[in-house]
């Protein structure tokens, strides 16, 4: 219990810290407005050209709310891998590693603390924009149902991002890996196009991967909530979180042996 309290405190401190610069928080989140507007232009024309009210089980309104949540999940997460890489480069990793806490749990607590308000402000601007463009979500209760999956999505993001960050122990600069992970999320996670619009063979592959569990699953659950979908999304997500957490711990133990601290 005492151990949990320690990480809860770290989470709380980071959470409060993220509110220290409200202007910065708002400024960063404004980016979702042009994104939503351009998505609307694209999908309005596409639905019109297809002459269909529903594509892949989604209306234009569903698609826009789906994209809003997908963007919120993506834009809400902090650049953990880059921060870890910077820590290795400037030597400050030495100060984090010798503190009386578990390095990975510390990173998880700070990462979640930084995420919450970023995501809330993004969701606020994104929702206002989408509401203005296409109206309210068809099933607003979907947000409550999708909430556990959203938290699961950030946990998954954390596992992958931390593994990329840990690679800095060996290669120092991780930017190329973060770009590639981001693009895998875009393409196989369904961040710019819902996976339901993909060819069948690609849908089967993409929906079984962790990228979809982190973006597509929660977003689809939000717009078309059902008990069956909830069970599917949560069980697949839990499986990926378990697998990736084990991999992360193994990567951390092996990375520690190779770490060279530059200075400090």
């Amino acid at each position: 219990m005492k151990t949990f309290a320690k990480y809860w405190s770290i989470f709380q401190i980071t959470l409060i810290n993220s509110l220290a610069y409200p202007g910065e928080l708002v400024g960063r989140s404004l980016m979702i407005i042009p994104f939503m507007w351009i998505f609307y232009q694209l999908w309005k024309v596409t639905y019109g050209a297809a002459g269909a009210e529903v594509i892949g089980g989604l209306t234009l309104r569903d698609t826009m709310w789906y994209l809003m949540l997908a963007e919120t999940i993506e834009l809400g997460r902090p650049p953990l891998a880059r921060t870890m890489s910077e820590n290795v480069k400037d030597g400050s990793i030495a100060y984090i590693l010798n503190k009386p806490y578990d390095f990975l749990l510390y990173q998880f607590s700070t990462s979640m603390g930084e995420t919450i308000f970023r995501a809330i402000v993004n969701a606020l601007f994104g929702s206002l924009t989408v509401w203005f463009l296409v109206g309210a979500p068809a099933q607003p209760e979907g947000f409550i149902i999708a909430l556990p999956a959203i938290i699961g999505a950030w946990t998954l993001h954390f596992c992958i991002n931390a593994m990329i960050g840990l690679s800095a122990f060996v290669v120092e600069d991780v930017s190329a890996f973060t770009w590639i992970y981001q693009k895998l999320s875009f393409v196989l996670g369904g961040m710019l196009i819902p996976l339901d619009f993909y060819p069948d063979w690609l849908q089967v592959i993409a929906k079984s991967l962790p990228f979809a569990s982190a973006i597509y699953g929660p977003s689809r659950l939000f717009v078309t909530p059902s008990v069956e979908l909830f069970v599917n999304v949560m069980s697949l997500q839990a499986m990926w979180i378990l697998v990736l957490s084990l991999l992360l711990v193994a990567a951390y133990r092996s990375g520690l042996k190779q770490l060279t601290v530059n200075g400090g």
Partner: protein, 260 residues
Amino acid sequence: MKEIKFLFAIWKANLQSAMEYRISFLTQMFGMILNNFMYFAIWIIFFDRFEDVRGWGVNDMYVTFGVLASAFGLVSVFFGNTFMLSEVISKGRLDYYLSMPRPVLLHTVASRMISSGVGDFFYGFISYGLSGYLTWDGLARYVLAMLLAATVFAAFLILTQSLSFWFGMMSNFSNLVLNAMLTFGIYPITLFDSYAKLILFTIIPAALMGAVPAEFIREFTWQTLGQLLFGAVAFLGVAILVFRLGLRRYESGSAIQIEV
């Protein structure tokens, strides 16, 4: 002539500096090429399902994405500090450039090279090669369009980041307009109505970095060439003017800065 020699000397020094970390340089270059390919996969999937957007197909996207990537890469490699000009101004780091007997703006923006830009630059040519529009005269137009698009892009960055002379650190605003420019630049221009198009030619000149150069590459017309030339000259002129006006207001503390 003297300034061109000076520019080449800076670029040479930047390249030598980047080559100190050869593995990192190569990782960033190839990583960026792979990154762009993966991003473009979205459009391949989209057009596979929906075929065209008001007459705009996947081949047009190859050209648009290509010229935008090359122009972005060109600015990143040769004028990498345009992305950080706001920070240079607000942190008082212009002092260093002001003390040198060279044009302040040119010296400042050319003093940094972003290695990943090399990947963007080459990816653009590959993308154009895959578009099905590749011809010798098309390639010549590609190079010209890329240079003009890069001029518009660099000018836009200088213009927006120079606002720091008046408003201080503006990294959020700079990121916002940069992202808007790149996002709007790679979407089919046929999506937008006339009001939106007016914005994309003026306030956020994304059309002059993506759609118009792509149109010029596909087929030569005096109109598209005129739009590109006018856009490049006008934006560069305004950017230089705003920077100079801002420079009159510039002040810094007594912090000791080390330029490496």
